[in-house]
């Protein structure tokens, strides 16, 4: 009898634990999501506030607010840089995907070297080399245009690999079927390959664009007037480092969180269709 009761008790305890924390079905209730999300959020905030208290740091948000024009300017610039680089890197990625499938060997090797070099070296090194060596040699000195080119070339290598693997994921039998039906190369790409590839690569591309937004911060080293650079400047004037960089993180998240949400959405949409 006693034993039974104690079993019941633990069962009840487990029941409560399960009801609160354990994901039990495909559709977790909104309450449960909110509860668990908030729990972790508060935990993180607590750890942070605790640490700030412990080091005895005195937050001075007023000093940050004084430079808000810099934050706004930088935010706009980062947004624009990312936006244009996103398109350019898609174009570059598409071009090198074609190169990677080309029977013309110089083009194929151009692709090989490009991807190997970009993926094999730090972005920082690429920025310096492109800007100070190639940019200077060819008299390309506009920092903004160079910034977009450099960022697009960097991101383009990853985009290339994403598109390429999307195409390779299309089974050989489909290509053979389209051959046997008499499709020419254009028709094969237009009606068979591209529609399927677009579906397949949208989620990883969204992820790549997320990285692109963050990577744009490195362009500050060539004095592109984007968000990170503006905040570094504000920092040298108001010395409120923690506040400045907290705000910086928040501003990046204003761009990246919608992007990652969008990528989740697209992923779900496309996975249902198959």
């Amino acid at each position: 009898m006693e034993i039974e009761e104690s079993i019941n008790k633990t069962n009840n305890k487990e029941g409560l634990f399960k009801r609160l924390f354990i994901s039990d079905s495909e559709n977790i209730s909104t309450k449960k999501r909110l509860f668990n999300g908030l729990l972790i959020f508060l935990l993180l905030v607590f750890v942070f506030i605790f640490s700030i208290e412990k080091i005895g740091y005195d937050m001075r948000w007023g000093a940050v607010f004084k430079y808000k024009h810099k934050f706004i300017l930088g935010f706009k610039m980062t947004f624009l840089l990312s936006f244009f680089s996103l398109f350019t890197s898609l174009i570059i990625g598409s071009f090198f995907t074609v190169a990677s499938r080309s029977k013309f060997l110089p083009l194929y090797y151009l692709y090989r070297f490009y991807v190997a070099m970009i993926r094999g070296t730090p972005f920082l090194v690429q920025i310096y080399v492109f800007f100070y060596v190639i940019g200077t040699a060819f008299n390309l000195t506009n920092r903004y245009i160079m910034g977009i080119i450099i960022l697009s070339l960097f991101s383009g290598a990853y985009v290339t690999e994403i598109i390429r693997s999307g195409i390779e994921g299309i089974s050989k039998s489909q290509l053979e079927t389209s051959d046997s039906l008499g499709f020419n190369t254009y028709q094969k790409y237009r009606y068979i390959i591209i529609p399927q590839v677009i579906k397949k690569i949208t989620p990883p591309l969204a992820g790549q664009f997320l990285s692109l937004v963050k990577d744009s911060s490195l362009l500050s080293v060539i004095a592109v007037n984007e968000l990170t650079k503006n905040i570094q400047e504000a920092d040298s004037l108001n010395f409120a480092s923690i506040e400045n960089y907290l705000l910086l993180a928040g501003l990046y998240m204003i761009i990246t969180i919608p992007l990652s949400y969008l990528s989740k959405l697209l992923e779900r949409k496309f996975s249902y269709e198959y």
Binding site: D179, S180, Y274
Partner: protein, 244 residues
């Protein structure tokens, strides 16, 4: 259909898959190709379909003196119908679109007409209620039947089928074989690689037996199955019927 193959040879990396194939057949409407696994049946069919280039040899089918350059092959493939074991339909478009797409794009038939043609064929083979489904919502047998309907819609001069039922369970196999038998009635010339010996025997007038890259024996289907001459064919049929 007239088929004339001379000295056809094909190797994959030192592995002679087809070794000096020669055959000359006149006025054949349905031809079965049988033989043990790995014997080279699919390779032969793929060469006949213009999907694979032989190392040497000449092939003439009807008026097609097949030249193995891309330009010739493009025209040639447009005019014949090939059906593989599986995955003949494109997964991202509906059954009916699988039929209308090549009609519109490759054969330049206008949208309305293509749709009407596809619809009437699907209806004829009791597939109309599936016409808007994607292939992943169709059974294996339905998929193959849609693919056969497509080959018919394209008005192919003749059809090449490579084991179209081998990925299907017995019931679905029957429904696909029924449909193929239907084609025969309207004199659509057919070359069929198959493991369905009963079907080869009853539905195809002529049979070729291929083993280890060679044509070992060929003749009227009835004769091939009732009185095989070569010891290879005897052994092959003996093994097959051991469990029947």
């Amino acid at each position: 259909m007239n088929i004339n193959i001379d000295n056809l040879t094909k190797s994959y990396e030192n592995n002679k898959v087809l070794n000096d194939i020669n055959i000359n057949l006149k006025n054949i409407t349905s031809l079965a190709i049988i033989g043990p696994s790995g014997g080279g049946k699919s390779t032969l069919l793929r060469i006949l379909a213009g999907l694979e280039k032989p190392d040497k040899g000449n092939i003439k089918i009807n008026d097609w003196n097949i030249l193995f350059n891309e330009k010739y092959l493009k025209t040639y493939r447009k005019n014949i119908g090939m059906l593989f074991q599986a995955y003949n339909l494109f997964p991202h478009i509906s059954a009916i679109r699988n039929i209308t797409l090549p009609l519109e794009e490759v054969h330049k038939i206008n949208k309305k007409e293509a749709f009407k043609k596809a619809q009437s064929l699907l209806e004829r083979f009791q597939l109309s209620k599936h016409s808007n489904k994607r292939p992943d919502k169709l059974s294996g047998g339905q998929k193959q039947r849609v693919a056969i309907a497509r080959a018919l819609a394209l008005n192919s001069e003749f059809l090449l089928f490579d084991e179209p039922t081998s990925a299907l369970d017995p019931e679905l196999t029957m429904e696909v074989l029924d449909m193929i038998n239907n084609l025969r009635k309207e004199n659509k010339d057919l070359i069929l690689v198959t493991h369905e010996m009963g079907f080869a025997r009853k539905a195809c007038e002529y049979t070729i037996f291929i083993s280890e890259g060679k044509i070992i024996e060929h003749g009227e289907s009835e004769r091939i199955f009732t009185s095989p001459k070569s010891k290879e064919l005897k052994r092959f049929l003996g093994k097959l019927f051991q469990w029947h």
